[in-house]
Amino acid sequence: MKLNIFTMAAIIFMTANYGGLFAQENEINTEPENGKPAPEETSEAAVLSGYIRNYTGVLAKGGNDYAIIQNTFDIRLKKQTENAAFKANSIVYHNPEKDKDIELMLREAYVDLFFSSMDIRIGKQQIIWGKADGVFITDIISPKDMREFLLPDFEEIRIGVTGAKSNLYLNDHALEIIWLPVFSAAIPPEAGSIWRPEPSFPVSPVFHNDKEEVDGSLKNSEVFAKYSLMTSLIDLELIGGYTWDDEPVMHAYKTIDPATKQITALDIYPEYHRLTAGGGSFTFTIDPLVLRGEAAYYKGKYFNSTDPALLDSFVKKDYVNYMAGADFTIWDIKNSAQFIQKIILRHTSDLHDKKFQNLATYLISRDFFNETLNLQFFVYYDIDNKSSLMRPKITYKYADGFDILAGANIFTGSEGKFGQYNKNDMVYTKITYHF
C-alpha cells in the first residue's frame, strides 16, 4: 500500500511539472485603461494542499467501545492556468481497529479545459447539485458512501464519478451536460458495522450476485443535464437525468412449502435498476430571509411490498421529493430550517414505506472571539417516527489551519431512519491540521 501511495504521488508530481498543457498564463490584463490590455506572464507551480486528521469516537452506551478511531491523510494537487487545470485528490484512511487498517481512495482526478464560453472537465470528479443542506433531492450524480451513515463531512460522503462534464455559458445562463460511461454504486455499511442493522429473515437467505454489476458499456451510460440561472432576483436550477439507482434492489424470491405454508428457502438477487429523474431548485432573498426550495420527480423506483402476488417483494412506483427552507440570522446566530417531504405516487397499503414521509432539519451556528470558536447544533427530525439525530459540536481554531473539534451524535426514538441507531450515541473529537 505504501508503494501505491508513493507511486501515485510521483505520478502527480511528474504531471504537475511536465504537463505541457499547463503553459503559464495569468488571468487578468494589467495595462492601464489608456493602454492595450496584455496578458501578464507568471510562473506558478502546482499547489499542494490537504489535511491530516485524527478522528476518535466513543459509543456513549454499550461499554464505551470505539465507534471510530481513524487517522486521515488527505492530499490535493492542483494546477491552474487560464486555459486548463488539473486536480488530483487522494485520501488515505488508517483505521487501526479494523482488519484492513489502511485504505487508499482516489476521490478526484480530473483535467479541465477552459474556453471562452465553455468548460470541459474529464476524469473522476465529485458533482453536487441542489440547494438543500444535509439531504439529497436533485443531488443525484455522485453516489454516497454510507459506511458511517450521515456522520462524515459531506465532502467525504460523496463518491467521485468517472465521466465528462461540459458547461456552456451565456451571460447569466449556464447549461451543464454530464456523461458517465462508468456506473458508480453507493457504498453501504460493512457487514458487522454498527451502521448496518442486520435484517431478520425467516430462513437463511442465499444471495445471487450475478446481476449486481452494471457492465461498463455505452448502453449503460448515465446522462444528466442542468440549466442554471444566477441573477440578482433569483438563483435557479432545472435538472434532468437518466441514471441508475445507486443502491441495488434486493429482489427476494420465497419458496413456500404448500403443505405447511412456511417459507423454506429465500433467494435474494441484488440488482441495480434504471431511474429517471427531473426537478429543480431555487434560492432568493426576502430580507432578512434567504428562501430555498428544491424538488424532484423520480420515475421507476422500486419499493418493498408485502403484496403476496409479487414474486420478488418489490413494486415499481414514482415518487416526489421536495424541500422548503429558510436561512436567517438573529443576534449573530445563524439559523437554517428545512422541511423535506417524500410522496410515493399511486401508493398502495402493501408498501413498506408510507405515502408521505416527513423530515425536518434545523441548524444553529454562532462564532465567538473573532471566529476562533464556533458552536453549532444540527438536528435531523423524522416527524413520522418521532426520532432524531442531534449533532452538537464545538470547534476551536487553535491556530491558522489547526482545528480542534469536540462533538456528539445523539439518536432519539426507536424507529425509523434515526431511531434504529439509538444505541449508537457517540462523543467524538477531530483534530485537524490543514496545509
Binding site: 488571468e27 487578468i28 490584463n29 494589467t30 495595462e31 492601464p32 485603461e33 490590455p37 506558478e44 499547489v47 494542499s49 489535511y51 494546477k79 491552474q80 492556468t81 487545470a85 479541465d112 477552459f114 468548460d119 465529485q126 458533482i127 453536487i128 441542489g130 440547494k131 463531512d153 459531506f154 465532502e155 458547461n167 455559458y169 447569466d172 449556464a174 442554471s228 444566477m230 440578482s232 438563483d235 434560492t283 432568493f284 432573498t285 430580507d287 432578512p288 430571509l289 434567504v290 436561512d327 436567517f328 440570522t329 449573530d332 462564532d367 473573532n370 471566529e371 476562533t372 491556530a399 491558522d400 489551519g401 482545528d403 485537524t432 490543514h434 496545509f435
Partner: protein, 263 residues
C-alpha cells in the same frame, strides 16, 4: 500688535460662532456634503489587489488571512469578487457581492469548496465580522451618506493632513453603531480615522488609515488598522499589487469564476 491680536481673536471667535451656528465648514460645506464628497470621490472603474489581514489578539497572538479581490463599478452597480488563499483551511473559498447605487439591498454569494456549491447568503450579514477580523462587512463598504445624519464637529490637523471631523448618527435606530466620528482629509476625501461607538454609546473601535497612494490619479487607501477598544483585538489590513482600471470582463463576476477561482 495688541490690536492685531485682539482682532485675530475676535475673528476666530466670530468664525467659530458662525461655524457652530450653522454647522458649516469654512468652505461652506455641511456635514452631509463632506461625507458625500468622500462617498462620491473619484473611483476607478475597476480595481484589483491582494489583501493581507493580520489579526492580533490581546495577548499578541497573530493570525493571517490573504485574499485576492477584484472590483468593478459601472456607476450603478459595484461588483466585487474575492478569492481566499490563506489560511489553508479556507483556500479556494470565494465570495461575491453586488452592491447597488439605488438603495437595493446587496446580493451576496459564497462558494465553499468542500460543498462544491455556490450559496446565496443573506445580505443581513452586514454586521458580521469579515473573516474573524475587526471589520464588519459594512465597515468594508461605503455606507450611503443618506443613511445617517451628519454634523461637522471641528476641523483638525491629523498626521499633517487637514481633516474635517464629522459625527454621524444612524437614522436606523437598530444599526450596530450608535454613532461614528470620522476624520476626512480635505481635498483627498479619504477617511483618515474613524471612531465607532456601540449601541450603548461606549467607545467600540478605532480605525486608522496607515497608508494611501495616488495610483493612476486616484487616491487609494493601502493600509489601515482597526482596534477593538473593548477587547483589544486588532486587525492590520494591507493592500498590495494594486492595479486600477485594468480590463476585468463582466463575466469575471459569476458563479463560473467563483467555482473556478483564479491562478
Amino acid at each position: 500688535m495688541k490690536n492685531n491680536l485682539t482682532n485675530n481673536k475676535m475673528l476666530t471667535i466670530a468664525l467659530l460662532f458662525i461655524f457652530k451656528a450653522n454647522g458649516l465648514t469654512a468652505d461652506n460645506l455641511n456635514g452631509l456634503q463632506v461625507v458625500q464628497k468622500a462617498y462620491n470621490k473619484p473611483e476607478p472603474k475597476t480595481q484589483q489587489a491582494v489583501l493581507k489581514m493580520t489579526l492580533v489578539s490581546s495577548s499578541g497572538g497573530k493570525r493571517e488571512r490573504i485574499l485576492k479581490q477584484f472590483v468593478s463599478n459601472n456607476g450603478k452597480t459595484e461588483k466585487k469578487i474575492m478569492f481566499f488563499e490563506k489560511p489553508s483551511d479556507v483556500r479556494d473559498t470565494s465570495f461575491m457581492n453586488f452592491s447597488y447605487d439605488n438603495g437595493k439591498p446587496d446580493d451576496q454569494w459564497i462558494y465553499l469548496p468542500a460543498l462544491k456549491r455556490v450559496k446565496r447568503i443573506s445580505n443581513d450579514s452586514k454586521g458580521d465580522y469579515f473573516m474573524g477580523s475587526d471589520f464588519t462587512y459594512d465597515d468594508l463598504g461605503d455606507r450611503n451618506p443618506n443613511d445617517d445624519n451628519h454634523q461637522i464637529l471641528k476641523e483638525e490637523i491629523l498626521k499633517n493632513e487637514n481633516c474635517y471631523v464629522v459625527v454621524s448618527t444612524p437614522k436606523d435606530k437598530n444599526y450596530m453603531y450608535s454613532k461614528t466620528v470620522t476624520w476626512i482629509i480635505k481635498d483627498k476625501w479619504l477617511v483618515m480615522k474613524k471612531v465607532f461607538y456601540d449601541t450603548d454609546g461606549n467607545l467600540l473601535k478605532t480605525l486608522t488609515m496607515t497608508g494611501h497612494e495616488k495610483i493612476n490619479g486616484y487616491w487609494i487607501r493601502t493600509g489601515s488598522e482597526m482596534i477593538n477598544e473593548q477587547t483589544k483585538h486588532e486587525t492590520i489590513m494591507k493592500l498590495s499589487n494594486i492595479k486600477v482600471n485594468v480590463s476585468i470582463p463582466d463575466s469575471y463576476f459569476s458563479e463560473r469564476r467563483m467555482k473556478r477561482g483564479i491562478k
